[in-house]
């Protein structure tokens, strides 16, 4: 099960050679609601609840997207 997941993800990532936008095409990505974690306090509160009530935690990542400025 876990290996199928890894293979599928790697395969789908390798198809991304044509993905991407020009630097000036990021107006939508620059919107705050398009950040991967656009409500960090809420995510932290949720993570804390689920960490206390369930056996799994974390996993969420960081970075990327956005306006890509500078």
């Amino acid at each position: 099960m876990r290996y199928i997941f890894i293979v599928l993800t790697v395969l789908s990532l390798s198809a991304c050679s044509q993905w991407g936008v020009k630097p000036w095409e990021r107006s939508v990505l620059a919107k705050p609601e398009m950040a991967l974690d656009n409500a960090p306090l809420t995510s932290a509160l949720d993570d804390h609840i689920y960490f206390s009530k369930e056996a799994s935690s974390g996993g969420r990542g960081f970075g990327g997207g956005g306006c890509g400025c500078n």
């Binding site: 020009k22 630097p23 000036w24 095409e25 990021r26 107006s27 620059a30 919107k31 306006c67 890509g68 400025c69 500078n70």
Partner: protein
């Protein structure tokens, strides 16, 4: 004859509809051109405007021309930005990114400096307040060549 006229009118109106940005740097020969690509959603662009206004206002007499190329897809976004942070320099609009493609813009904002003979002498990606002074020194050195 009428067909040709019709084609000409169609061509002229089509180019207006598509609003293709046009920039003829030849008419600025003899001047130093600072060409800046910006957009309303780009925060460093917002920080660069007061500095570009200053460059424009203080160095026009010495032969500097500042041109801002706006890359917003929606003109309303650019207008709203300029209403709160007005540009003292010339702004042209490139909503389809044709000029950006032509100049191979690699990041936002991007600045291109052309010397008095029209040659591209410097390209700079991004804007940081702490680089403002050295950028100004560079512009002044190009102006004095």
């Amino acid at each position: 004859m009428i067909k040709r006229l019709f084609a000409l009118i169609l061509l002229a109106s089509l180019s207006n509809i598509s609003q293709a940005a046009e920039l003829d740097l030849a008419k600025y020969k003899g001047k130093v051109v600072y060409l800046d690509f910006w957009a309303s959603w780009c925060v460093p662009c917002r920080h660069s405007f007061p500095w570009m206004n200053k460059m424009n206002n203080e160095l026009t007499d010495k032969g500097l021309v500042v041109i801002g190329v706006n890359l917003d897809e929606e003109r309303a976004a650019a207008d709203s930005f300029l209403k709160s942070i007005p540009a003292d320099f010339k702004v042209i609009y490139d909503p389809k990114g044709d000029l950006a493609t032509k100049y191979n813009v690699k990041g936002m904002p991007s600045a291109y400096i052309f010397d008095r003979s029209g040659k591209l002498v410097k390209t700079h990606i991004g804007f940081k307040n702490k680089d403002a002074d050295s950028a100004r020194s560079y512009i002044e050195s190009v102006l004095s060549r």
